[in-house]
């Protein structure tokens, strides 16, 4: 779906500006859609977009935060950088949450911000903000363009850095005099000048050998599959490897979909709200093989008790992640696909895992995920299962942050990759709905569901305008429990039920709200109605908002309290 690259110097009468050059360079990078919001410092760029409107798309969001989360959703689905454009000062600072989110979750973005003219930088000029200083710790890299002639190199480097190695956000700050400056001559194509940036893709063969040898003698091996497997597009290789050696697989929250959930070898998600079987496997294992997970604290629980009996092998494209949290005996700096490919070529014998698999199967049987059905109300977990059913488990699911996010992770089981979009590392409320918009833009033919909480949705709901305007058929499921549910859960369990400011005593009428944006809205408060109406709602061609009134007191279980080990789960059985 790439747009034909054409970079031509216009010989027409109108002189070409830095902004015109920028747009040409974006087209050359294959950019189809800019997620943008205009303002004074980017007016030259908007003029160039106007002139190039038949060659590049632009979607106007209603808040810079919404648009950058949409760009993240787009990047998560396509694997290509989402391209964001905002004005200087407040436009740029409104992006900060999204940039940080993309940094934490390794999503490729190229973010362009306007800046005041170079002659007034540093004078507290109108809408000036020190975007370079603000974004240095939250970007993979950032640039301020000092001359038009640097533009071709910087744009090329920005896309290269954002999308190679460990992906991440790159910001390019564009002083207004650079974008409005006139090109005196056509600019030559530019080369990358990045001597300090050479990501390692191929694994060290000695370490691969060591891993194969360790595997041959292991009795209780387990694979932890993280988002790195998805970045590497290595789900097929991972599945082949696990099946070849009969190794069970747990995933992280961001690794959902990296391994088919319906495989007998799948243990489900591990971590704070992971399954009993996945967490006990990580606890009891004697060989933990981590492909592309960064051993986040939500995954490991207390490090003191993490994988205490295991030899640890860790495959990660970022050397700094290996050994950062968990001591690692077999470090493998590599792309997950390259490492798996080499591992599959090893001739080492498979471990004997029958009794280990038998034990884990027993765990799965004895301690499955559970919730109590209540025929009178609607259980949020049941709601997710119903959405799974009506979408044949094949929708793109974007969530916000909170209880509903965990229930979606637990109950919308993914058999295929690249269908799951959630904010893991930063846990950004307000992420889910706009991220779903970005996903729908990336995959116009797919069913896209935004599963959001009643609180988080209100942080970025203004983007309803965008799905109306563009007729993007996003299906919004509000898991409405009248509370900041996840906060209330912690207060109930860890603060002796002192419910401090975590209930929402007033709500807009979400149905009328949707209608006021021109969108179909429906309220449902019981299982029967949901079962009756969901098929039609999902068959509906345009966007729909479904305000689902769920049981308010439900909690996410199992759970590992802060400071506890993976073997110290609570709520593994109905009480």
């Amino acid at each position: 779906m790439k747009v034909e690259a054409k970079l031509e110097f216009q010989t027409s009468a109108a002189p070409k500006t830095g902004a015109d050059l920028l747009i040409d360079l974006l087209i050359k990078e294959g950019v189809e859609t800019i997620f943008g919001y205009p303002g004074g410092a980017v007016l030259p760029i908007y003029d160039a977009i106007y002139k190039a409107q038949d060659r590049i798309g632009h979607i106007l969001f209603r808040h810079e935060q919404g648009m950058i989360h949409a760009a993240e959703g787009y990047a998560r689905i396509t694997g290509q950088p989402g391209v964001v454009l905002a004005t200087s000062g407040p436009g740029a600072t409104n992006l900060v949450t999204g940039i940080t989110d993309a940094m934490m979750d390794s999503l490729p973005l190229v973010v362009f911000t306007g800046q005041v003219a170079r002659s007034v930088i540093g004078t507290d000029a109108f809408q000036e903000a020190d975007v370079m200083a603000i974004t240095t710790p939250i970007t993979k890299h950032n640039y301020q363009v000092q001359s038009i002639s640097d533009l071709p190199r910087i744009v090329k480097e920005a896309f290269h850095i954002a999308s190679t190695g460990r992906p991440g956000p790159v910001l390019v700050d564009l002083p207004k005099d650079v974008t409005s400056g006139i090109l005196s001559e056509p600019l030559e194509e530019s080369e990358l000048d990045l001597p300090g940036y050479q990501p390692t893709y191929k694994p060290n063969s000695l370490q691969i050998k060591k891993m194969a040898e360790s595997l041959a003698t292991a009795h209780k091996p387990v694979i932890l599959a993280g988002a790195g497997v998805l970045h590497a597009k290595a789900t097929q290789e991972l599945t082949t490897f696990a099946e070849k050696h009969n190794i069970p697989v747990a995933t992280t929250l961001l690794g959902l979909g990296a391994f088919p959930a319906d495989s007998p070898l799948s243990l489900g998600m591990a971590g704070m709200h992971g399954t009993y079987a996945a967490n006990m496997a990580l606890y009891e294992t004697d060989l933990l093989i981590n492909f592309g997970a960064r051993f986040d604290d939500r995954l490991t629980g207390s490090l003191k008790h993490f994988a205490p009996f295991a030899k640890v092998a860790h495959v990660d494209i970022d050397p700094a992640e290996i050994g950062k949290n968990v001591p690692t005996q077999i470090p493998i700096v590599a792309d997950a696909k390259a490492a798996l490919t080499e591992l599959l070529e090893q001739t080492e014998i498979s471990p004997t895992t029958e009794s280990w698999l038998e034990k884990l199967k027993q765990y799965k049987q004895d301690f499955p995920l559970w919730y109590k059905h209540d025929p009178k109300g609607m259980c949020p977990q049941w709601l997710i299962e119903a959405v799974h059913k009506v979408t044949n488990g094949d929708a793109i699911v974007a969530t916000d942050v909170g209880q509903h996010q965990m229930w979606a992770a637990q109950y919308y089981t993914f058999n295929k990759p690249h269908r799951w979009i959630t904010s893991g590392g930063l846990g950004t409320m307000g992420f889910g709905f706009p991220a779903a918009i970005g996903a729908q833009i990336a995959a116009p033919e797919s069913t896209v569901v935004a599963i959001v909480g009643d609180a988080g949705f209100q942080m970025t709901l203004q983007e309803l305008s965008v799905i109306y305007e563009r007729n993007l058929p996003v299906k919004i499921i509000i898991v409405n429990n009248g509370a900041l549910g996840m906060v209330r859960q912690w207060q109930e369990l860890l603060y002796e039920n002192r419910i401090s400011h975590s209930l929402l005593h007033s709500h807009p009428d979400f149905v009328k709200l949707a209608e006021s944006y021109g969108i179909r809205g429906v309220r449902i408060d019981n299982q029967e109605d949901l079962v009756a109406s969901l098929p039609e709602l999902f068959a509906f061609e345009g966007p729909v908002l479904v305000d689902c009134r769920v049981l308010q007191q439900e909690k996410v279980f199992p759970m590992i309290a802060p400071g506890k080990g993976l073997h110290e789960m609570i709520g593994v059985k109905p009480v």
């Binding site: 370079m132 200083a133 240095t136 710790p137 993979k140 890299h141 950032n142 301020q144 850095i161 990045l194 001597p195 300090g196 940036y197 970022d318 050397p319 700094a320 050994g323 950062k324 001591p327």
Partner: protein, 174 residues
């Protein structure tokens, strides 16, 4: 433990900010930092002295620094054969009658007097931080008005002994 880490970096605006910001964010303590151009145009060298708890943290700081796009090379040279030097300017209160006494004192340090006025003199000393510390201690009784130190800069010696004959450079606490 104190470690000497050298970085070669592309000389682009913001790179010093990037390095110090990273160290601060990841809670590494910088004892000193010095920066200057190298023999290659467009490439600068930084010498950092950082305080880290253990080998794991040291590995982490090196890897994080290496990840920065403009950082070309990171070396922990603490255990190598190195030349490590610092320059200090020490302003001491001194009337003319004390001058010869001070001269006698600083001579073994191969320090020199670089500024003289009625009430004070300024001594310049170059050497390992311990030597600079020692001279400062000796000058203290005269009344020190001001100290300016460059921080350590270091480079590998031309000949690197085999690891068994090597005496690691020690950075004692100041």
């Amino acid at each position: 433990m104190k470690r000497i880490i050298t970085l070669t970096v592309q000389d682009r605006s913001g790179v010093l900010n990037r390095v110090t910001g990273l160290l601060q964010r990841r809670q590494f303590n910088i004892s000193s930092i010095s920066v200057g151009p190298t023999e290659t145009e467009g490439v600068s060298k930084m010498t950092l002295v950082v305080d880290v708890e253990d080998g794991q943290r040291l590995e982490q700081v090196t890897k994080q620094l290496n990840k920065q796009i403009e950082v070309l090379k990171v070396s922990d040279i603490t255990d190598k054969a190195i030349v490590a030097r610092e320059l200090a300017l020490i302003k001491v209160s001194s009337g003319s009658q004390l001058r010869s006494e001070i001269n006698g004192l600083i001579d073994p340090f191969r320090a020199i007097i670089v500024d003289v006025c009625k009430e004070s003199i300024t001594v310049q000393v170059t050497g390992k931080p311990e030597k600079v510390d020692a001279l400062i201690d000796l000058l203290r009784p005269f009344g020190i008005k001001e100290i300016a130190r460059t921080g350590l800069t270091a480079s590998l010696r031309g000949h690197q002994p085999q690891s068994n004959e090597q005496t690691p450079y020690s950075l004692t606490a100041r």
